[in-house]
């Protein structure tokens, strides 16, 4: 009955707290997912052609810039409201690097508004690189990448002011957006500028859908750079992500089927602190299933005595207490 006796052997050691019972599963899965990603990056580097399906929102990017060029009006980009620089902001700025590269070629003015100084630093550096690689360093104006404010609604006021004054022809809102998403979207819409938007905050997506021309939903945002640049590393990683999603999909399908059948009938066993103990017969609960045993590790309590640390000598600054 006690299927976990083997794993409890671990508990005899003094270390490995987080591995006890089924605690190791989580770490294992994380590593499987990581290896999926790395393996596929390796495959893609090997020059293997990997397929990516069409993503409508991303085809719109070129169109939007083209439009801006025709009208000779600036392209405005906002890499979200991350409170410090993180992968979301990096991803956004990477997409914007692609945008600015095209804009630079057509000598189209750009505006990149940052919410956070670290992101600003990164964007400044990145966009300058882009212009240098295009051999257009002279066209680059450091003020086109600017820090606006790091207070949410001051930022919103500032950016919508910019949109209205500069009459931007194309606007890109990619990254972490919260309530202010709609302020940007509607303001841009009111001057008829094309908007490509995406928020990693699911709760904001509906508002972008309502107000924007093109919306990237969920991790289409993370797929973007792979889709646009087709760099093997990115494409490979994207395939790895798909494998991982399939893995989760399988776990869900199989898991819920297993639960469905295991929960039928009654039981006289119950897990307490990781040990199966006998109880009087009762209808099975979801907590009696293998799946919940796997997902909810509950190691038994063990006491291990260690030598005490030497207590620190009282120091004058502590007044000797």
């Amino acid at each position: 009955m006690n299927a976990f006796a083997g794993i409890h052997a671990v508990a005899q050691m003094t270390v490995g707290d987080q591995y006890r019972d089924t605690g190791w599963v989580g770490i294992a899965v994380t590593f499987v997912v990581a290896s999926f990603i790395l393996i596929n990056i390796y495959r893609a580097r090997g020059g293997r052609e990997l397929f990516i399906r069409r993503i409508a929102g991303l085809n719109a990017i070129d169109e939007a810039i083209g439009r801006a060029t025709e009208m000779g009006r600036p392209v405005l980009m906002v890499p979200g409201l991350s409170t410090t620089i993180n992968a979301i902001a990096v991803q956004a700025v990477n997409i914007f690097a692609y945008v600015s590269r095209i804009a630079a070629r057509f000598a189209n003015p750009i505006l990149l508004c940052c919410y956070n100084a670290a992101v600003y630093t990164y964007a400044q550096e990145t966009i300058r690189d882009v212009y240098q690689q295009e051999g257009l360093a002279d066209r680059y104006d450091t003020d086109s990448v600017r820090f606006v404010s790091d207070r949410q609604f001051a930022f919103a006021a500032g950016v919508s002011g910019l949109i209205l004054r500069e009459q931007t022809a194309a606007t890109f809102f990619l990254g972490e957006f919260y309530a202010e998403s709609l302020i940007f979207a509607e303001t841009a819409n009111s001057i008829g500028s094309i908007q490509v938007a995406s928020s990693t905050e699911t709760t904001q997506t509906p508002f972008f859908i309502a107000a924007c021309d093109y919306v990237l939903i969920g991790d289409e945002f993370y797929a973007a750079s792979a889709y646009l640049t087709r760099k093997p590393i990115l494409v490979g990683s994207l395939v790895g992500q798909d494998w991982s999603k399939l893995l989760i999909l399988l776990i869900i399908v199989i898991g819920s089927l297993v639960n469905t059948f295991q929960i039928q009938g009654t039981t006289e066993w119950e897990r307490k602190d990781g040990e199966w103990t006998k109880i009087e017969t009762r209808p099975k609960k979801i907590s009696d299933t293998t799946m919940s045993a796997i997902f909810k590790p509950q190691a038994p309590e063990v006491t291990i005595d260690r030598p005490k640390k030497p207590t620190p000598a009282p120091t004058p600054s502590e007044g000797g207490n």
């Binding site: 050691m13 003094t14 270390v15 490995g16 707290d17 990603i37 990056i41 409170t83 992968a87 979301i88 990096v90 990477n94 590269r101 940052c114 956070n116 100084a117 670290a118 600003y120 550096e125 990145t126 690189d129 240098q132 600017r146 820090f147 790091d150 207070r151 609604f153 001051a154 006021a157 202010e180 709609l182 302020i183 979207a185 509607e186 819409n189 990693t200 699911t202 309502a210 107000a211 939903i217 969920g218 991790d219 945002f221 993370y222 797929a223 590393i233 990683s237 992500q241 999603k245 989760i248 063990v302 291990i304 260690r306 030598p307 005490k308 640390k309 207590t311 009282p314 120091t315 207490n321």
Partner: protein
């Protein structure tokens, strides 16, 4: 004794406040740090990427180790490690309280760049006699005022009588100015800008919510249902009707507006959010891995 519990044991890395030892070690560290910085200025181009990559990798390695390195079982704070493995684990755990603040501090130290950007842009406008120069002036002025009175007020609150300043009776013009700028402008303008969304949400709904496609129709229907259920007057009227019809029949009771909207939320909203989040989470993890291992050719570099 409580104070004893608060006291930290002193090792190589910490010294008593204001002790000469502290200041010496501190300045030595600073000098080393600056020396390294200057040294970096002269590294050859090809060594740059590896250096950056190494910094990134080590920074990330800490968290990964903290996650996978076997943690000691049932260790009390006052117990010493039994073996090397435990030693590392404990070291990782104890350094945690320092590492968590690094991001915060570094980001804060970089803020100057943001302010610098603001200054260059607006001073530039003023110098160029840009039509909006006046507004740039206003911006810089209000910034200066906020800084002045912000710090002034803060310092006075640090002092002996700090608590007294909670009562406006004891305010001087410093508190009044701080309050005027902070409450009168910053807070209220925050609220004003936030509330503007209501207008936009209305016009967006009016423009976008058309029964054009199946998708639009579904979205609209769900939205309207939830909206109506939020109108207490309507929903309670509807629900009382339903309860009257049902008189106890649990099946009919499900048709109460509150039940229906809850059903939509629990069955479809939660699940679709979850579905998206799984994808987003893996996306973030993948991105994290690429950055950590230096596989992400960031930004402009091709």
């Amino acid at each position: 004794m409580l104070l004893a519990q608060v006291a930290v044991e002193r090792g190589f890395w910490s010294e008593a406040p204001n002790s000469p030892a502290l200041w010496t070690k501190l300045s030595i560290c600073l000098i080393i740090g600056l020396a390294v910085m200057v040294g970096l200025m002269f590294v050859p181009v090809r060594a740059r990427r590896p250096i950056i990559g190494m910094c990134t990798f080590i920074a990330g390695l800490y968290w990964v180790l903290l996650y996978v390195w076997p943690k000691p079982i049932d260790r009390q704070p006052d117990e010493a490690p039994l073996n090397a493995v435990e030693g590392v684990a404990i070291w990782l755990e104890e350094s945690n309280k320092f590492v968590v603040s690094f991001t915060q501090i570094l980001t804060a130290l970089l803020l100057g760049l943001g302010i610098f950007s603001l200054l260059t842009i607006h001073l530039g406008k003023i110098r160029r006699r840009h039509p909006d120069a006046l507004f740039s002036g206003v911006l810089l002025a209000s910034m200066l005022l906020m800084i002045t009175f912000g710090y002034w007020d803060y310092n006075q609150r640090q002092g002996e009588a700090g608590a007294l300043l909670d009562n406006p009776a004891n305010w001087t013009f410093v508190q009044y100015s701080r309050d005027f700028l902070f409450q009168g402008f910053l807070q209220e303008m925050d609220a004003a800008m936030f509330s503007i969304i209501a207008f936009y949400i209305l016009s967006a709904a009016y423009r976008a919510f058309r029964l054009r496609s199946v998708e639009a129709t579904i979205l609209l229907a769900a939205a309207l249902l939830v909206l109506v259920s939020l109108m207490g007057a309507v929903s309670s009227a509807w629900d009382t009707q339903v309860r009257a019809i049902a008189n106890g029949n649990p099946f009919v009771l499900n048709f109460q507006l509150s039940e229906i909207s809850m059903w939509i939320r629990n069955t479809f909203q939660t699940s679709s959010i979850r579905g998206i989040q799984f994808g987003v989470g893996i996306g973030a993890l993948a991105m994290g891995l690429r950055i950590w291992l230096g596989l992400e050719r960031t930004g402009g570099q091709d």
